[in-house]
Subunit: 173 residues, 2 copies
DNA sequence: TTAAACTTTCAATAAAAATTGAAAGAATAT
DNA sequence: ATATTCTTTCAATTTTTATTGAAAGTTTAA
């Protein structure tokens, strides 16, 4: 297989994976394209390579910057902007994990603790109410467990990054 | 807050969470409804409580059974079918993890190993090719790491379930 | 065997999400 | 100040996905 074909397949696969995880196909494809491009790309490059409109390219590149996994690059003497993806996969994973925790785990945790304070009423038997709070409680503790696991991963990756960085700084150490 | 209102809010929240993770809102809502319902529900019950059509209820209940997190329950002397959700959240998490690994991790791993065998061609410089294989390699090892973590979680939960089960069987032990 | 009570399927439809492209907005150069 | 080059926005449109409901299928009872 040739490089271009391999890149094409990666972009397609990454897009499919993205849509299974609630990320729009195009956003994942823009990310994939930037991941496998050695240098930074302009909006035009992205439009051409993925065959999408200017507006679409702009929207998705900006969404990726919101996630912290794509950066704008300005070149001296160039008016237009270039974009490049974070290439360190550990950092990518960490940033995505952080963002999803904020966007999805936190809202559901809030709902869980609110609805746990269900009042006893004449319309529901105490057994029904208890079964409900027990269910919610177990989801809560699972969510806390998941949150803890995510934190651990984030910390581990931050340490890993830091130590790699330190090694680069002091190669003799 | 009253029980009905709390359940309504849970169903809504679970639906929102689902769609952020690539699960259709209705499928997540049917799951949520079954999670907070003490007994098993018939198709009619689901249709009525979520205000959805028969076909929709049927499709989503079946998808949930494919995931292994909802079971059909047959009552003696009753012709119609009842459905109930797995209530043990650890088991739910394990089953979802297993299924997603099969559906999403495996396909992308296959693509990664295929495209890694990119041939050197005159159109691409060796540096470009090497940068690409390096990128794919790091995604591969991250995917392997994630797969390993998932396996560990699945095994841990299976052990946890087994030990709980053993305790139930031999309460004196 | 026929009827009754339910489940499943699927083509048509509706709803939601993504995409376009043109216009408006910014930034820089002349 | 005006033109030029690029970016951003957003209403209209297209595409994708989900939903409906009626017909076909299945199972049990009489």
């Amino acid at each position: 297989m040739q490089l271009d074909e391999a890149k094409r397949r990666f972009i397609e696969g990454w897009g499919t994976l993205g849509s299974a995880w609630g990320v729009s196909r195009t956003m994942a494809q823009v990310h994939a394209l930037l991941l496998v491009s050695p240098g930074a790309l302009s909006a035009e490059d992205i439009m051409e390579q993925l065959q999408i409109s200017r507006g679409n390219a702009n929207m998705n590149v900006r969404a990726l910057m919101d996630w912290g996994i794509v950066r704008k690059e300005l070149r001296p003497g160039e008016r237009r902007e270039f974009f490049s993806a974070e290439k360190d996969i550990h950092r990518v994973a960490t940033l995505i994990l952080k963002e999803r925790r904020k966007r999805e785990l936190e809202p559901i945790m809030r709902v869980l603790s609110e609805i746990k304070q269900v009042e006893p009423t004449p319309t529901a038997t105490p057994e029904e109410t208890e079964a409900f709070t027990k269910m919610i409680g177990s989801i809560q503790s699972f969510a806390e467990f998941a949150d803890g696991a995510a934190s651990t991963l984030i910390k581990a990756d931050e340490n890993w990054f830091l130590s790699t960085f330190m090694k680069l700084m002091r190669p003799g150490q």
